[in-house]
């Protein structure tokens, strides 16, 4: 096998990985703090994609329209997250996990149909922003510029997130909320606001990743339930609630999928699920997470 082929396979895996990281990091954040698997995270991602398409139609079908539309989509989804957290989620904290899981599933059903109602069931697509069309040659492998952009953006966001969490006052409060909610509350911090803030940020990330995926994937109904399973695997592998864990979890997922296709073609899908099961059995809190 030629080295350039292996390299392009590696880069393909890395692009998948970084896309997944953008989505999964939000899922992981919410789990780390609220101990809830938010199935609706995939729906937020899907809404981000549809809203970005809508934004592009409104602002400018070409040119700078894409970036403005992406930002608009991410902010709109973040606002939706605020509404959901304040109105509903809040009253479910401390209740049985069954009710929390089912609540997020109810959102999946409602948002999925809302998207169908608003945008129909046809495939929609967004063209790549002009600055990032074209491709470059690296080690003999052809890489589209847009994929490279995502591959760089992923680690940047991971590093930024880590920086905020570990080196800032807000981050300290968030980590404290992760460890002991009641104690933090007793110390006078506004835990409710921290929770809302984290939920909004996580929704924002979901919306942003949905918007950014539109130039390379068409927007279809059902993308919500497909992506949430993938993001879920990534988070389980890396460790719920751990930023770097999610990062490495995405890399492992992307590369296993990418190289798994070479080793046993029909079964790379199987291999990632099997990997997730093995990790849950051996280390339920994931490679980089901490036991609850």
């Amino acid at each position: 096998m030629a080295a350039s082929f292996l390299f392009s396979q590696f880069m393909g895996g890395l692009t998948t990985a970084m896309f997944l990281f953008l989505i999964a990091s939000g899922l992981s954040l919410v789990f780390g703090i609220m101990r809830v698997i938010n199935f609706a995270h995939g729906s937020f991602y899907m809404l981000g994609a549809y809203l970005a398409w809508q934004g592009v139609q409104w602002f400018h079908p070409t040119g700078a329209g894409f970036w403005a539309a992406s930002l608009f989509a991410a902010c709109a989804v973040g606002a939706l997250g605020a509404v959901v957290e304040r109105l509903f989620f809040r009253s479910l904290y401390g209740r049985d996990e069954l009710y929390q899981l089912l609540f997020t599933y109810a959102l999946v059903l409602i948002l999925g149909d809302a998207a169908k109602y608003l945008w129909g069931t046809d495939q929609l697509s967004v063209s790549t922003p002009p600055i990032l069309t074209g491709s470059v040659q690296i080690f003999g492998a052809t890489e589209p510029l847009y994929n490279l952009f995502i591959t760089v953006l992923g680690p940047l966001i991971a590093f930024g997130g880590w920086l905020v969490l570990n080196r800032s006052g807000v981050g300290r409060l968030v980590r404290a909320a992760q460890m002991d909610r009641e104690m933090l509350d007793a110390l006078g911090a506004n835990v409710g606001t921290i929770y809302t803030g984290m939920f909004v940020f996580s929704s924002f990330l979901a919306g942003l990743s949905g918007a950014l995926v539109t130039p390379i994937q068409s927007i279809v109904p059902g993308m919500d339930v497909l992506i949430i399973v993938q993001a879920f695997i990534v988070v389980v592998i890396g460790g719920m609630g751990s930023f770097w864990g999610t990062f490495w979890g995405s890399v492992i997922y992307g590369e296993v999928l990418s190289f798994g296709i070479l080793i046993f073609p029909g079964f790379s899908l199987f291999s990632v699920f099997a990997l997730m099961a093995v990790i849950l059995i051996v280390r339920p809190w994931g490679l980089f997470g901490r036991p609850l």
Binding site: R35, L92, L101, L102, V108, L109, G112, F273, A277, P284
Partner: protein, 350 residues
């Protein structure tokens, strides 16, 4: 069973009080003297003659969903295990039965128990790992196993038909019924419907027996307080595993019937969102009651039929129903009736 329950949820706390404090089916009121199960069974049996083709179809759907949901409730309501991958065992049963009957032309009388056995074996293996985890991690691992089954069903073309599925699974052979009056003249699909109703009635009776047995009582104890159960010498994990296997077996049997009923087995049946649907049925009916899940199955199939007449947005309504349940009626339909009943009684006494 008062303040020592570890759960904080009101619905679960209500469930803890259920065996003693429940009103439905207790006392010597007229309502409790009517043999409800027999009546429902006889009505179900009469559907092919009085109901017509479409109603028979709905009734069969309800019956199979009822068994599936009751098997889930053995984990959810009785043992307190939140399985988010119960559809895996349903799917294993459906595929085992479908593959045996279609590919190898095995008669139903062997394929049907085999599907239960297959599901039980898979439940034994996956359950062994699942019950070692608690709470959310348990839910996640069950979800992971169900997705493994989905990936196999979706990709292993030679055996499962891949994304094309296994269409045209044959009906069981009903030639022996030809000379029986009444039954011999029915269509094959109606004969299969009656067989389904009988098999499901027997299965439900067995599960009912299990839940009411000392074994079932221990499961409820584990649900209410696993630590205490362990203190009095119960091997908690072993009991949980046993419940998991029994639940998986009956889910497999339901799956086998469903594959024949819908004339095919497809990878879609095993996708994770199906696990959520059966969970909604269980909670809609009321997971603290044995007959909650069948009532939930009935309500959901009926609602689905009514609502899809008007609009294609059934999932939206399902989500709205779910929200209403979670925030308004966590006890489900039976829980709501129970509460109403109690209030009426109290009003009468006052």
């Amino acid at each position: 069973m008062t303040s020592e329950t570890t759960t904080t949820d009101p619905a679960v706390a209500a469930a803890a009080a259920a065996p003693t404090g429940r009103v439905i089916g207790t006392g010597s009121s007229l309502v409790s003297r009517i043999p409800w199960t027999l009546i429902v069974f006889l009505i179900a049996c009469s559907v092919p003659w009085v109901g017509g083709r479409y109603n028979t179809f709905l009734a069969e759907q309800i019956a199979i969903d009822a068994l599936f949901a009751v098997s889930l409730n053995l984990l959810l309501g009785t043992t307190g295990l939140v399985s988010f991958g119960h559809v895996a065992y349903f799917g294993v049963g459906a595929y085992v039965c479908g593959i045996l009957m279609k590919t190898y032309s095995v008669p139903f009388i062997i394929a049907f128990p085999a599907s239960g056995l297959g599901a039980a074996l898979f439940a034994l293996v996956s359950g062994y790992f699942c019950v070692r985890l608690i709470k959310l991690y348990f839910a996640m691992l069950t979800l992971a196993f169900s997705q493994i089954i989905w990936a196999i069903a979706y990709k292993w073309n030679d055996v499962t038909g891949g994304d094309q599925g296994l269409p045209e699974i044959p009906f069981p052979n009903f030639d022996w019924l030809n000379h029986v009056p009444w039954l011999g003249d029915l269509k094959t699909s109606d004969q299969f419907y009656l067989l389904t109703v009988v098999l499901i009635a027997v299965s439900l009776a067995i599960i009912h027996r299990i839940v009411r047995s000392p074994f079932g009582r221990v499961l409820t104890t584990i649900r209410d307080n696993p630590e205490r159960a362990a203190f009095i010498g119960v091997n908690v994990k072993l009991y949980q595993l046993a419940a998991f296997v029994v639940a998986g077996t009956f889910a497999g049997l339901a799956g086998a019937l469903y594959g024949i009923f819908s004339r095919g087995v497809f990878a879609d049946y095993v996708f994770w969102s199906k696990s959520a649907e059966v969970m909604i049925m269980t909670i809609l009916g009321g997971m603290n009651y044995f007959w909650g899940p069948p009532i939930g199955a009935f309500a959901l199939v009926w609602l689905n039929q009514e609502i899809t007449d008007y609009t294609q947005y059934w999932p939206f309504f399902l989500g709205a129903i779910l929200l209403l349940l979670l925030f308004g009626f966590p006890g489900g339909i039976l829980g709501g009736i129970d509460q109403l009943w109690r209030r009426l009684r109290r009003a009468r006494r006052a």
